[in-house]
Amino acid sequence: MDMTAILLQQMVNAIFLGSIYALIALGYTMVYGIIELINFAHGELFTAGAFIGVIVLTALQQIGWVESHFVLTLFITFGLAMAYVAVLGVAVEHVAYKPLRNSSRLSALLSALGMSIFLSNGMMLSQGVSDRPYPQVFGLDAIEIFGARITNGQIFIVLLAIALMVGLQLFVHRTRLGKAMRATAQNRTMARMLGINIDQTIRITFMIGPALGAAAGVMVGLHYGAVRFDMGFIFMIKAFAAAILGGIGSIPGAMLGGLIIGTIEVGWAAFLPSAWKDVTTFTVLIMVLYFKPSGLLGESSSEARV
């Protein structure tokens, strides 16, 4: 392969990885925007989505639907994973965050962390400690563009991720509920005075954010071919770095941040010692927080939250 092909290949990988990080980052950014709390359990909700995906997909493969109803299979898998994780997200919110909405920041953070540990170990107990193989539904068919290989699976995943993000953007900016969400994020007290049901708005945020994370989980499973109970941790930190980099609370920011983090990681792994790629991501996270805590597209008001 010549240099352009390598570069192009890495760019494809970066876009692929970046869109997954962006999807997870959206969950953080939405929740942070609305209740100003890092949802530590988000990484575990993402993993839960991946596990539901593997369970549903294996079941559908056994009854032969993967061959006969391919599109329907994917639809059911993503739908069920997202629906289940949305319910789980609301449960987490109700059990661990809602009682602490008016208490100190430290209590809420510790509660979120406890939830994260609980969920990750719960998944370990119920799904086992080893890698769970994902059914390979996409096969190995690929398109070659200037020597770069793009698999069908990658194309599907990137398109779905873009569709979900566009859908979210439309939801937040074109619907009443989206407007309520934006209002709550801006000023909760004022929103309540204007008759917005705060509890319901927060609950919807906790459905949409984790559901997007669950979709990302299924995508990761489909692409890498395996899921593990503790994979949420590393994805969580990277997605969080993406959310911060783009400006927390900003939805286009999360997408941009995801792409940048994906590019950095893929670029580093391709040309420099890949054992250090995670160190690079963490360093980027710390540098962004230090030098520009409002992020690339964040509103300047978020400085006050730091």
Partner: protein, 414 residues
């Protein structure tokens, strides 16, 4: 009113069931209902009990407003006994423990004490200064690796390496602390988490120095030196602390020194400055507290205590490897601090024993340990954020406002 509360409780239990049943009920694809429902029953019982106690107390509050909780009353009862008996008794118990226990129990005791000293160190950062540090275990790693490397390459003894380890730990604390000075709350948590992981990854990847994932081994145990006059001149006899009881006494001394140190700090000008920062950083700064230095000091001192514990840990095992310093370890230490009561020294000691020794007793439930830790953390925060044995200041802070209101109400009536 009660009906509304009941409905709230029912909703809460419903969502709790959504959380618990799939996490505990499934094993791969088969459903084992018993385990899940048992756990759910335990949690429901706790919540219902809490609800009943609350309702009961509310009913009584109208009659007797200044009812004290049993913890407070127990604390007062204990305080009436002269201090020399209570603390002396505890120290005597700790001293005689190796005489009555077998080696396994002593080993568990050592682990407990290591975690207690870590908890006390983290207490400075989280409990007193209010900075949530999720990468605390990194300092423990710094201590362990400093001693290992100095002992293996330069042959330095434990006691000579200890001050170097402490200084390196403090420097690392400042390095981590410095960029986070401007941050508060959540961002701080995530940055310290990132730093903790960076330290672990560096230890894991820097093969030429740290031997990577294989770890370092063959470090000497801590030694005692006795003067020896038999052969003419003065020579020193070295006695390595190899047996478990000897190591137990060493870590006991370290823990006692840590307790004294943390107590003195808590009651000092610096301690009050930390608490001022925890309560309101802006107000503290305006009152003349040099917040930057005081925060850095919290990181550095917390790191110093962890570094001592780490050096002891490496010396005790005579082996160290990056996987001892996972994020989960930070969570365990944090859980000790939270369960015991943020800022409370006796609380941390009790919580350390509960969280480290009790899982050893129930060996069969080993896998459930971390699950329980997570659940404990959330439950404590929801039900009793001040911890098992709350620090007196913290208790006032959490319940104080209610009491003031009550008192104001009382006076207005008269």
């Amino acid at each position: 009113m009660v009906r509304q509360e009941l409905r709230k409780l029912a909703t809460y239990l419903f969502f709790l069931a959504i959380l618990i049943i799939p996490m505990l009920g499934f094993r791969s694809t088969s459903f084992e209902s018993q385990r899940a429902f048992k756990t759910l029953a335990v949690f429901s019982a706790i919540l219902v009990l809490n609800f009943v106690v609350k309702a009961f107390r509310r009913g009584r509050n109208t009659v007797r407003a200044k009812e004290k909780s049993w913890v407070e009353r127990a604390g007062e009862r204990i305080n009436q006994v002269p201090r020399i008996y209570t603390i002396g008794g505890l120290i005597l118990l700790a001293l005689t423990f190796p005489l009555i226990a077998n080696n396994y129990m002593i080993d568990v005791g050592i682990t407990c004490l290591i975690y207690i000293s870590l908890g006390l160190g983290l207490n400075i950062v989280v409990g007193l200064c209010g900075l949530l540090d999720l990468g605390y275990i990194a300092f423990y790693a710094v201590g362990a690796y400093t001693y290992s490397l100095l002992n293996l390459s330069l042959g330095l003894s434990f006691w000579a390496a200890l001050p170097i380890g402490i200084i390196l730990g403090m420097i690392c604390g400042c390095i981590i602390g410095y960029p986070t000075l401007k941050m508060r709350g959540d961002y701080l948590a995530i940055v310290t988490l990132g730093f903790g992981e960076i330290v672990r990854l560096v230890l894991n990847n820097w093969d030429s120095l740290t031997a990577g994932p294989n770890g370092l081994f063959g470090m000497k145990r801590p030694a005692l030196y006795f003067p020896d006059f038999t052969e003419g001149g003065l020579t020193w006899t070295t006695y390595y602390l190899k047996s478990l009881p000897a190591l137990y006494y060493l870590i006991l001394i370290i823990v006692i020194f840590t307790i004294i140190g943390v107590r003195r700090l808590d009651n000092s000008r610096i301690g009050r400055a930390w608490i001022a920062i925890r309560e309101d950083e802006t107000a503290a700064e305006l009152s003349g507290v040099p917040t930057i230095w005081i925060k850095l000091l919290a990181y550095a001192l917390g790191a110093a205590f962890a570094s001592v514990a780490g050096a002891f840990f490496a010396a005790k095992l005579s082996y160290t490897n990056p996987n001892f310093f996972l994020f989960m370890e930070s969570c365990i230490v944090l859980c000790i601090v939270v369960l015991g009561g943020v800022g409370s020294i006796p609380g941390i000691i009790v919580a350390g024993f509960i969280l480290i020794a009790v899982p050893e007793v129930f060996r069969g439930l080993e896998n459930y340990r971390m699950l329980a830790f997570g659940a404990i953390m959330t439950t404590m925060m929801v039900l009793k954020p001040e911890g098992l044995i709350p620090a007196s200041r913290r208790r006032r802070e959490i319940h104080g406002s209610d009491r003031h209101k009550q008192e104001a109400f009382d006076t207005s009536e008269h």
